[in-house]
Symmetry: C3
């Protein structure tokens, strides 16, 4: 139990931004890599997926490399993904224009000589660790070194499984859910609940590149999840680190060990890529990875299922939250306390990055 | 049949208000008691209900008294009603803030000392006659003596039954339907129809507190409803009184007696509380009460069922009407005649009350 | 294959109109006859149909002639079509006002003397060739000689069948689909596809009354449709003429004959009346007529089914196109080439007619 003082007191919040004027969930960070698909979703049949309010057509060339174009034919506006892959190119299913992965038009039916420069928008695309990443902003700025680190997904020292969860909320509500794990005590009463998560002090670390929210809980009762799946009986030490990197990536590192016998330990990573589909829907790509009992498929199944059931509980809460944010007027005095540290830090950071990106765009527009 | 003259002539209506500019179905009278629920709907599990475009969470304390709060947590906006009742309080299901029925925050998880004044909006609530009434405006003005009179619902001298009908229209269309019962001849052709209802003179009485629309029909053929359920065979005298009190209450008093034998009489009350849910949906609480054959449950059943089937006919008509008002342009020359007296009086009255309430709010805002 | 030059080159299109500012799919040509129903749909029960965003009630008088009124009672706005036909008139199902086919109010329940001029809007209506045509603009301008020619529908020298297809797009996308039949090669790969349709030169003819798009394909491989249903084996000559007349009528004339044996020929007409229901939905009335084997019902069935399956393919494409036009931003460089001649000519023509009609309305408003 935390005494009064600073963040440890409940306070009327200084709003991060003016909701009425400043805050638009339609504004997404653009100059970032977003997870767009699982590797196995993209093949020789076109895949349509909406990302950041934009329709994207994805497919693989004959050599297996993925390609991604704006999914709207510049001729009449039909979605290219309704067409077919012919060789390396995608051919519109309406009047047959073809485009290759760099966006160039490669064929216009009935026309011999194509004019130079006829093209549509291409998205830089990189396949890594079993996910397809798309750069949603200025292609000239795309930099592969900025791809968020999800290496655990195919690191031979780790094992696990994940899926995509469609969530009918702005991606921020998914992010904020993960940045304040005190909700576990209330939302996940039968799986992850522990008194400690609401009482433990919260540390935040921010270095301009990543934001970390850390809870170090010593000698606590293990949550039902770790009791059941990892065989902890007595008291445990439980350390949570939630690391956020823009635009929409969170890696949760959990280490639980027996307080009496610190060598009896379990460690996992929950990978969370929350890619906006629209202002009010999110492709929530997640995977749960562990570095022990790698061959134990039954454990993989059990952990996947437990985590997924837990996420369904989150989805129910945040979809109800989204409805209230949309339909009901803003309360006069929003409150914040120590559990909110991470959420508020992330909100301020992303607001700043959005302003910087807007300024960058304005400067580029003026220059160009 | 009424001859020409005044209201008895069809006339192009002087519009009650300018539809384009003045009339907004989003404007509800606020400083009034509205029926929010049946007593049995509110218990130890939270109930969410939207009223006047606002989400409300209702529950009962341990002593059985009802409580009602704005159903949006001031922390992150989640609906409190997704949480649980703990003792007398409601606890948010997301991060665990608790509130008691007066709106005060009673617990913040992990925080020892709460700041003074941390609270959310509470609605004055009164339980009476089997209904839960909420005051939707300024709590300082809530006055129990202003609760609309529905005492028949649990008066031992009366018996009956009712239910809530969800209707996808602005509440005004439900009200106006009841204020012009001439529709019975056309909408309820097989139950309540009688030629007299369209021909009989209409009297309106208005004393600044209540509006009454009265039809006194002597020596008429009884409608199928009264023939079948009350055994009237010959001619009857049939008196209807529709009494409207703001914001949205109507009590219909009906007395039918044999013209030949005035002691063979039947009397009932139809109670109608038309609480807005949103601009385009209404919780229509109704009950049909009679003062005779109190023990006859089969008669209660038969009357309830007949009335409900009749109301389903109304719902079909007014939902179609709402669609037209929303989708089709205003006709050039709306017409009104004697059957419209009550509707127009009510519309003008409520428009005046809305203006007064707006002025009152503006004055309060200036003063405070 | 067409070489470069003029329309035969792909070019960034000079937009027909500014999409953001000028172009509103809500603007329909009004002073035209539109197909509103099949004869057999209109009878002694009222039919409600939305046309050009307006609700219309249609029925037949006792002598069988059709009538059409605005489907909104001037009393309280209920749809007249929810009422009943009494004699020649339609009676509102809410409070019983009656109207005859010219729009005059013929009865107000309980009122003896009606004021002069009490009426609602009537639509000029003509039944011809098995279709009901409505004039959607100024009744004073309605001119039966302007009814679009669909005489093949009941010409004894022709046989065929059709239906109404509901399509969730603005009617323009249906029209444009038909004005550029090069889509057949891609959308209808298994039925109407032929290389020739994309390679053949396109001729347009425009005389201020009608727009014709003509493809004359000599010595080509017949499409699967004509192979299967008309028994063409060797090369054929295939002439398509797509004739558009405003507001929304297209007659496609097709003649196919064996190149070797020109007397082995088949000729049909596809009649297409694309009546807007709303901005985003269309009643697509079509019929396929031929002038040979008139008694062969099995052939009628086979051709009807084949054509309908083909149209389902079109609907899938243009509904996807509509979604993109609505949800995705305009591409920077729309492209056009020779296949687009007809579409662009029609778009410019209709834009001009809309401007003229707007000017006409403005002048009338000033004068009147």
């Amino acid at each position: 139990m935390i005494g009064p003082g600073g963040w440890d007191t409940v306070a009327a919040a200084a709003p991060v931004r003016e909701f009425e004027e400043d805050w638009s969930p339609a504004i997404f960070l653009r100059n970032y890599w977003y997870v767009a698909a699982w590797s196995e979703e993209v093949g020789r049949e076109p895949l349509q997926r909406w990302l950041l309010n934009e329709p994207v057509a994805m497919w693989r060339r004959r050599d297996g490399t993925p390609a991604a174009l704006a999914d709207r034919c510049p001729h009449r506006g039909a979605p290219l993904s309704n067409g077919r892959i012919v060789g390396d190119d995608i051919r519109c299913g309406y009047h047959g224009l073809s485009f290759c992965g760099d966006g160039s038009c490669t064929a216009v039916p009935g026309v011999e000589t194509l004019p130079a420069g006829l093209s549509t928008r291409a998205y830089p695309v990189v396949e890594r660790w079993g996910w397809i990443f798309l750069w949603m902003g200025d292609p000239a700025l795309a930099d592969e070194s900025a791809i968020p680190d999800y290496h655990w997904k195919d690191d031979p020292g780790w094992a696990g499984r994940g899926e995509t969860l469609p969530v009918a909320v702005n991606y921020e509500l998914v992010r904020d859910n993960l940045l304040d794990l005190s909700h576990a005590h209330f939302v996940h009463r039968n799986t992850l609940a522990t008194d400690a998560v609401v009482d433990a002090p919260v540390t935040t670390e921010f270095d301009g590149e990543r934001l970390r929210v850390i809870r170090d809980m010593r000698g606590i009762e293990p949550s039902p999840f770790f009791k059941r799946l990892c065989g902890f009986n007595g008291k445990v030490d439980h350390r949570q680190q939630v690391e956020f990197t823009p635009a929409a990536n969170i890696v949760i590192s959990v280490r639980v060990n027996s307080t009496e016998n610190p060598d009896h330990a379990f460690e996992n990573r929950v990978l969370n890529a929350m890619t906006p589909e629209t202002d009010r829907s999110t492709h929530y790509f997640w995977s749960l990875e562990r570095d022990s009992q790698l061959e134990d498929e039954a454990l993989t199944d059990a952990m996947f299922t437990a985590n997924r059931d837990t996420f369904f509980e989150d989805v129910a809460v945040i979809e109800a939250q989204q409805e209230m944010l949309d339909r009901a007027p803003e309360p006069a005095r929003p409150v914040r306390w120590h559990v909110d540290k991470g959420v508020d830090r992330a909100q301020r950071w992303v607001a700043k990055l959005l302003r910087e990106e807007a300024a960058q765009c304005a400067a580029a527009a003026e220059a160009g």
